[in-house]
Subunit: 208 residues, 2 copies
DNA sequence: TAATTTTGAGACATCTGTGTCTCACTTCGT
DNA sequence: ACGAAGTGAGACACAGATGTCTCAAAATTA
């Protein structure tokens, strides 16, 4: 009995994240309501998936808030973000797979705001000398979200125990994103820019 | 003019990886052919996306082959795999998003074989002391594929330069997957099992 | 209990995408 | 140049999903 809108949306995610083309029939059954009631709650399929996307973005924004990613040490902030976003990993998985959502301006704006916050976190961490600067903040943002989505898929399909999720995500991602402890972080901020640093491979001009 | 089947499939990926619900009309236009010819090449939409999935899996299998992941040092093998799989990252992105493909037994079998090979690579690397044992080989396999898919999406949307792709993937993933150089790898294989090692957090019994 | 509201089940029209066909045109090979 | 094969554009019927409606049953409230 899920008469609440948000409850229905969460049930819808469980179906849509695995089968994006699921019919309204299946979604209604997954939510434990009839197709008629589903149509009473949401004007149509379009509105339903749009609201699912909006819910996902709101949850992710809330995770960024509760993690207080703008404050304090960036590594600690990222660890908080992992803990805060893993419970909603399935929503993120849906967002990652449903690129079509971003045709709507409001959804797209909401998305860009959150990604910008994530980007700022990594940029700040790089300036603090916490995160590696050979990897662009944009790529770090993208990869982090991809891994959150991967966590969501893996949990949903039973390939990953929910209890291990946060640990697995944090250890793998931070291992790749943090500067090696052997190179101690300087006290002064590091200039982050087009400089290509100690990488053994240097990306040159783009040529497909 | 893409009359060749594989050429059409590659063009189809470009559309389907972003919009899985794209109509036959769009796919045909993306391939530069008419809808009639598209139907002449593939019996129907079902067969088309099935063949796209099959192509993706064959490419990934070929990448595993050319990387010779079964031979030699596991870190070097993984670096070779990165280089070999990045060119087909968009195919992998399609595979990651299209869970519906795995209803077909042949596709599912092909998938499981490749994942098993990936899993074996990580397990071997863990036994060699190259990869961390706090992260399960299953999660490493999954996360690696997720990141390859993320690379594909990022390249397609122009958020990541193709030249930086292999470097970004290798550095981020290996950073998280490799054992810290500070803990030197022993010469004898490490027993990999249910033992929970030096992790500061211990996953206990599953409770949703 | 009675009245009001909400829900479920089914029927229905509509619409969109798919699959098939035909025909004129282009391209290739001889 | 001629014939053969392939292609593109369009028309068409069909199938399936969507959206709307009605009515009976259930749940809520007074």
């Amino acid at each position: 009995m899920a008469t609440d809108r948000d409850t229905v949306l969460e049930a819808a995610v469980g179906v849509l994240s695995r089968r994006p083309t699921a019919h309204m029939d299946e979604i209604a059954r997954a939510a434990g309501i009839s197709r008629a009631t589903l149509h009473r709650l949401f004007p149509g399929r379009e509105a339903l998936i749009r609201d699912v996307g909006r819910l996902g973005l709101e949850r992710f924004a809330a995770a960024l808030d509760t993690a207080a990613i703008e404050d304090g040490d960036t590594e600690a902030a990222l660890r908080r973000l992992v803990d805060a976003s893993v419970p909603d990993a399935m929503l993120c998985a849906f967002l990652a797979g449903e690129n079509q959502l971003y045709d709507h301006d409001d959804i797209n704006d909401l998305w860009e705001v959150q990604i910008a916050r994530l980007h700022a976190l990594f940029l700040r961490g790089q300036q603090q000398g916490v995160f590696r600067i050979e990897l662009s903040a944009a790529w770090l943002s993208e990869a982090f979200f991809d891994l959150v989505a991967g966590i969501g898929w893996a949990i949903q399909d039973g390939r990953l125990a929910p209890r291990e999720a946060a640990f697995s995500l944090a250890e793998l991602f931070l291992g790749g994103a943090l500067r090696r402890p052997s190179t101690p972080a300087p006290t002064a901020p590091i200039p982050v820019g087009p400089t290509h640093s100690t990488s053994d491979r240097k990306p040159e001009t783009d040529t497909p």
